[in-house]
Structures are given as structure tokens and as C-alpha cells.
């Protein structure tokens, strides 16, 4: 990353003796779309307010374009915020709301007119200049809030759960529009959200936070496929956690292990040693599931499960539209969720409750983590 627009170095924040943020170090590239993802109370909003200038760090350094900004108030930072509840000025028209920042910057009226028109066009609100915020729908108010922020051409746009008040359809649509806007404006966006889908759909990189810490920073794909711990794995979508013990190293990055009572082969870039207890993480869609009788009949099918062969019983099926979820109880009593696609050749589901099944996974799709619980 050659030129970070924002850099945080070991930033700490305490509220009344409580640690809200601990040792946050983060670099945001110019033109990057970054999401801060975590449950409420994880410190993501505090971090955003720190960058916006509404809070100050207890210790640590915050650089904006390479310059320390400690003590510089929000009105003097080249950063604008889209607030969660929009925070539009109710006594001003849409035009005046959007023009507010430009007026504070003492721009000429002609310039203001041009820039406001351009910003409103960007968010598709041309023609609503004279309306009051209260006369607009939630989605339109959201657009005004975005226009009001981007019209000032900030270096960074901060978005605090901007879509949480919108319904599902509108949220999807606004996600795409925000992403498009970020590409055209080519400024950095920092989005705070607790919605993993939202973070994944829009971001170049995602920062997963918990309890004031950064748990993992990575591209959506890295976060989803290579979570660094159980917390991250569990937060970003459904996951099955199998427990096991490493028995021996059987090759480079390949290990023989005992997982949930079955002999399996694991791949991991981590340094695990024989005798070590581990978690084996598998997404529901990473599993392969076949009927035990089919596997017994077919030599090829049997061979294709060489890596792992866990036995279990189908408990329930959940229809999901494009896919269906199968709940399987393993022999040792553990329950796992498996997502299966519909078989294109047959209209019937391949499994029914009570079926004896063999469970395996595609080689290398498992994530091996040191034992935590």
C-alpha cells in the first residue's frame, strides 16, 4: 500500500476507565472501500467517530494524508460523515442541506449551485431541491445525506450503518449505488456495519472487530475462507466447528488427524504438531454428502472420500429456495449443517430424515485452527 489516506498507529480509547478501543493499527488506501464489521459495542462506531473528529484518542496516532490530526475538530477535517439516522437539517430544503458545507466553506453562489446540482444528480435526486427532508421517503433522505457529504469532495467518506433503516430490497439497491458512487468519485469510503453481507458485497477489505480489538483485516474472500479464529469464522456466516487431534504430519502442510471419531487427512499452512488439539472449520457448502449405501456400492465414490469419511444420520431438511440445508447428526452426537444444491436430474430431494450418510469435504477447503474452547 503506497499512499495511505488514513493511518492509525496503536490507537487506544477509554471511556470512563473502560477500554473502548485497544491498540488499533490500520491503514486505509486512497480510493479504497473499507468496512468495519462487528456486533454492536465492538468499537466500530467509536473508531469511525475518532476518524471523523468527534472523539479523541486516549493514546496513539491518527494520520490523515500523513498529517497528525489529533486536536483538529471535525469542521477542519477533509472527512465527511453519513450518519446512521441521516441527521438532515429539518428546517432546510434539500438544496440548503446539500449546500450547507459549501456555504460554510464560503464558496461563491454560482459554484454552490453547480456543485449541488451535480451532487443531487449523482444520487438521482434532481428536481427535489425545494422539498423538505420530511417530505422525502427514507431512501431519498439517505440519498440527501450522501449528497450532502460528497458535495464537499472529502478525502474520505465515513458511513455509519447508513443502510440499516432501509428495507431489504432498497438496501440491496443502495449497496450497489454506493459502490458505483465510490468508483466514480474515487475517494475512500469507510463503512461501519454489523451486516456481513453488506460488508462483503461492497468492500475491498473488511476489518472484523470484537470488544475494541481488530480480529482480522482482509479481503472478503480471505475473511470468509481463511478466518484467523473461531470468532471471525462464526461472525461471517454459518460454520461448522469439528474438534480433533493431530496424529502425525504426512506431508508438506498435510496432516493425519482424528476428527469426531474418524480418521481424516487435513491440509493447513499453520504449524500444528502431533498431539495438538485443533478445530476443523467447514462452511455448510464445503461438505460433500452421500448415502452410505451408495458409497458402499461404488468403488469410485468410496475412493473420492479418501480424505474424510464421517458417518452420520440425516435429522431434518430445510428448504431454502435455491438450495436446501441438511441437518446431520454424527456418530458421536455432534450436529452439523450441510448445504446441498438441488440435483438437476431429479425433482426429489436426495435425502430424507433417517438416512445413513457419509460426510466428507473437498480437499483443502477445511480451515484448521488451534483449539480455543
Amino acid at each position: 500500500m503506497d499512499k495511505p489516506v488514513i493511518e492509525l498507529i496503536e490507537v487506544n480509547k477509554q471511556y470512563n476507565g473502560e477500554q473502548a478501543l485497544s491498540d488499533i493499527s490500520l491503514r486505509v488506501a486512497d480510493g479504497e472501500f473499507l468496512s468495519l464489521l462487528g456486533p454492536s459495542g465492538c468499537g466500530k462506531t467509536t473508531l469511525l467517530r475518532l476518524i471523523g473528529g468527534f472523539e479523541s484518542c486516549t493514546s496513539g496516532t491518527l494520520l490523515l494524508d500523513g498529517m497528525p490530526v489529533e486536536g483538529i475538530p471535525p469542521e477542519k477535517r477533509a472527512v465527511n460523515t453519513v450518519f446512521q439516522n441521516y441527521a438532515l437539517f429539518p428546517h432546510m430544503s434539500v438544496f440548503d442541506n446539500v449546500a450547507f458545507g459549501l456555504r460554510m466553506a464560503r464558496k461563491a453562489q454560482d459554484e454552490i449551485n453547480g456543485l449541488v446540482a451535480q451532487a443531487l444528480k449523482r444520487v438521482q435526486l434532481t428536481g427535489r431541491e425545494r422539498r423538505r427532508p420530511s417530505e422525502l421517503s427514507g431512501g431519498q433522505q439517505q440519498r440527501v445525506a450522501i449528497a450532502r457529504a460528497i458535495v464537499n469532495q472529502p478525502r474520505v467518506l465515513l458511513l455509519d450503518e447508513p443502510l440499516s433503516a432501509l428495507d431489504h430490497r432498497l438496501r440491496k439497491q443502495m449497496q450497489r449505488e454506493l459502490k458505483r458512487l465510490q468508483r466514480t468519485l474515487n475517494i475512500s469510503f469507510i463503512l461501519v456495519t454489523h451486516d456481513q453481507d453488506e460488508a462483503f458485497a461492497m468492500s475491498d477489505r473488511v476489518v472484523v472487530m470484537q470488544g475494541g480489538h481488530i480480529e482480522q483485516i482482509g479481503t472478503p474472500m480471505e475473511i470468509y475462507e481463511e478466518p484467523v479464529n473461531l470468532y471471525v469464522a462464526d461472525f461471517v456466516g454459518d460454520i461448522n466447528v469439528l474438534d480433533g487431534v493431530i496424529e502425525q504430519q504426512s506431508g508438506p502442510q498435510t496432516f493425519a488427524a482424528m476428527v469426531e471419531g474418524a480418521q481424516v487427512s487435513l491440509r493447513s499452512k499453520r504449524n500444528v504438531t502431533p498431539g495438538q488439539r485443533v478445530h476443523v472449520l467447514l462452511r455448510p457448502e464445503d461438505f460433500r454428502l452421500e448415502l452410505e449405501q451408495d458409497v458402499a456400492k461404488s468403488r469410485d465414490l468410496f475412493a473420492s472420500f479418501h480424505q474424510a469419511k464421517l458417518k452420520g444420520t440425516v435429522q431434518r431438511l430445510y428448504y431454502q429456495g435455491a438450495t436446501y440445508d441438511v441437518e446431520v447428526t454424527l456418530e458421536d452426537g455432534k450436529t452439523v449443517q450441510v448445504t446441498e444444491f438441488f440435483d438437476e436430474d431429479s425433482e426429489d430431494l436426495s435425502f430424507k430424515p433417517g438416512d445413513k450418510v457419509i460426510l466428507g469435504w473437498y480437499e483443502g477447503w477445511e480451515v484448521v485452527l488451534p483449539y480455543e474452547k
Binding site: 475538530p73 469542521e75 438532515l88 429539518p90 450547507f100
Partner: protein, 255 residues
């Protein structure tokens, strides 16, 4: 049928409430000094009122005290409301609760306690003591009105203004004042009417050289109701209604 009953019922309620006022208004135009019978229309009581210098000076005193007390109470109440909304400090809840105690306290209690205070401080009763008393009466009404207005805005609005480059003064000038203004003006008008028609507190806290209208009327009616008092009541009713309508209009949310 039931519709008709409703109309009759509503009519009776309104008659109960407003008939006395209507009667006063009618008699203020009655061309007879003592009789309760109708002797024809006249404006002579209004004319007489205009020439009654003691009544007119009491009226001017009342307007003066109402204007001053309302202004003082509005300044104090608005600042109090802003502080209570914007800052968290020890005793904030107590302060806020005491506003309601003040509003609920019987006037006579406020009047006597103020009188005791003024006597203890050896303050001569007159315009200054009456002004303080009326301001005390009105501050809680202004503070709660303005507070609820502040409470209606989203907290983030002030942050948003700063975020867009407004400094403290500009936030106050372009956001806080315009948003609070209807409540501030409404609070002023409410205070004005409260002060204008107060009898009890005025009775205890003003001196002989500063007589206000309600007290003047009170002393006049002890000798029987004269038609020029009726005329005066109608004029005061008019002022109160105008102030009330203005304050309701301003306090009504525009959105």
C-alpha cells in the same frame, strides 16, 4: 338521532365553557349602567375605558411587566433548556424535576414564599420584585417548552453541522436557533399571557406605586361590576387570544 345528541352534548359543553365570556362581551356593548336588560348597542364603555387614566396606567403597567417578565423568563428558560439538553452534570435531574414542581405549585405558595424572601432581603415591593416574581412564574413553562423542542431533534444534527464545516458559533446561528425559535417565541407568548392575567402572585409581590390591571379590576369589582370593566375584559380577552393563537401556530410542528 345519536348524531343530534352528540351535537347537543357538545353544544352544552361549549356553552358551559364560553357562555360567561360571551355574556361579558355582550354587556360591554350594552347601553345601560346597572340594568342587566338590553338597552341598545353602544361603544361608550370603551370610550370611558380609554379616558379612565388609572385603569389605563394599570393596563400599561401590566403590558410592561408582561413584556419584561416574558423576555427575562424566555432568556433564562431557553439557556436552562439548552444546558439541560446538551450537557450531563450532577443535579441535572433534580433541576429538571424542580421545573415541574414549580409548575404544579399553587400560586399562593409561590406568592407567599416570594413575599417572605423579599421581606427578608428588605426589598421594597414594586416593579423589580413583581418582575422577579413573574419571571419565576414563567421560567419553568419556557424551559419545558424549549427543552421538548430540543429533545425532538436528533442528537447527530449538531455533529452533522460540525462535520460539514460549521464552527460552534455557526452551529448555534444556523442550526440551534432556527430549530429552537418557534419554541422560544411560543414560550415568550405563553409567559406573556401568564403574567398578564396573574392576580395572586401580583397581589403579594407588588407595591402600591405599581398597580397592575388584574389588581385594579379586582379592587373595582368590589364596588360592583361596572360596564367599563366588561369592556376591559373583552380587550384583554382579545390580547390573550391573539397571543395564544400565535403561540399555538408557532409551536405546531411545521413538518
Amino acid at each position: 338521532m345519536s348524531r343530534r345528541l352528540k351535537w347537543i352534548y357538545a353544544g352544552l359543553v361549549y356553552a358551559f365553557l364560553y357562555l360567561p365570556l360571551v355574556v361579558v362581551a355582550i354587556f360591554s356593548f350594552n347601553d345601560s349602567k346597572y340594568s342587566l336588560a338590553w338597552h341598545g348597542f353602544t361603544l361608550r364603555w370603551y370610550e370611558k375605558l380609554w379616558h379612565n387614566s388609572s385603569l389605563m396606567s394599570a393596563a400599561l403597567n401590566s403590558l410592561l411587566i408582561a413584556g419584561c417578565a416574558a423576555t427575562l423568563a424566555t432568556l433564562m428558560g431557553t439557556v436552562a433548556a439548552f444546558i439541560m439538553h446538551q450537557y450531563r452534570f450532577p443535579g441535572r435531574k433534580l433541576l429538571f424535576g424542580s421545573l415541574f414542581v414549580m409548575m404544579m405549585s399553587p400560586d399562593i405558595v409561590i406568592a407567599i414564599s416570594l413575599l417572605l424572601l423579599f421581606l427578608a432581603l428588605h426589598l421594597p415591593l414594586g416593579f423589580p420584585t413583581l418582575l422577579v416574581a413573574h419571571a419565576v412564574l414563567c421560567v419553568p413553562f419556557v424551559a419545558t417548552t424549549v427543552y421538548s423542542r430540543f429533545h425532538g431533534f436528533q442528537r447527530d444534527i449538531l455533529d452533522a453541522a460540525k462535520d460539514l464545516g460549521a464552527d460552534e458559533y455557526q452551529v448555534f446561528r444556523f442550526i440551534v436557533i432556527p430549530l429552537a425559535l418557534p419554541a422560544v417565541v411560543g414560550g415568550w407568548l405563553l409567559s406573556f399571557t401568564l403574567s398578564l392575567d396573574d392576580v395572586i402572585i401580583s397581589f403579594f409581590t407588588t407595591g402600591p406605586d405599581f398597580e397592575v390591571l388584574p389588581l385594579r379590576i379586582y379592587s373595582m369589582v368590589r364596588l360592583g361590576i361596572k360596564p367599563d370593566v366588561n369592556a376591559l375584559c373583552v380587550v384583554m380577552m382579545g390580547i390573550t387570544i391573539v397571543a395564544l393563537v400565535l403561540s399555538r401556530t408557532l409551536l405546531k410542528e411545521k413538518e
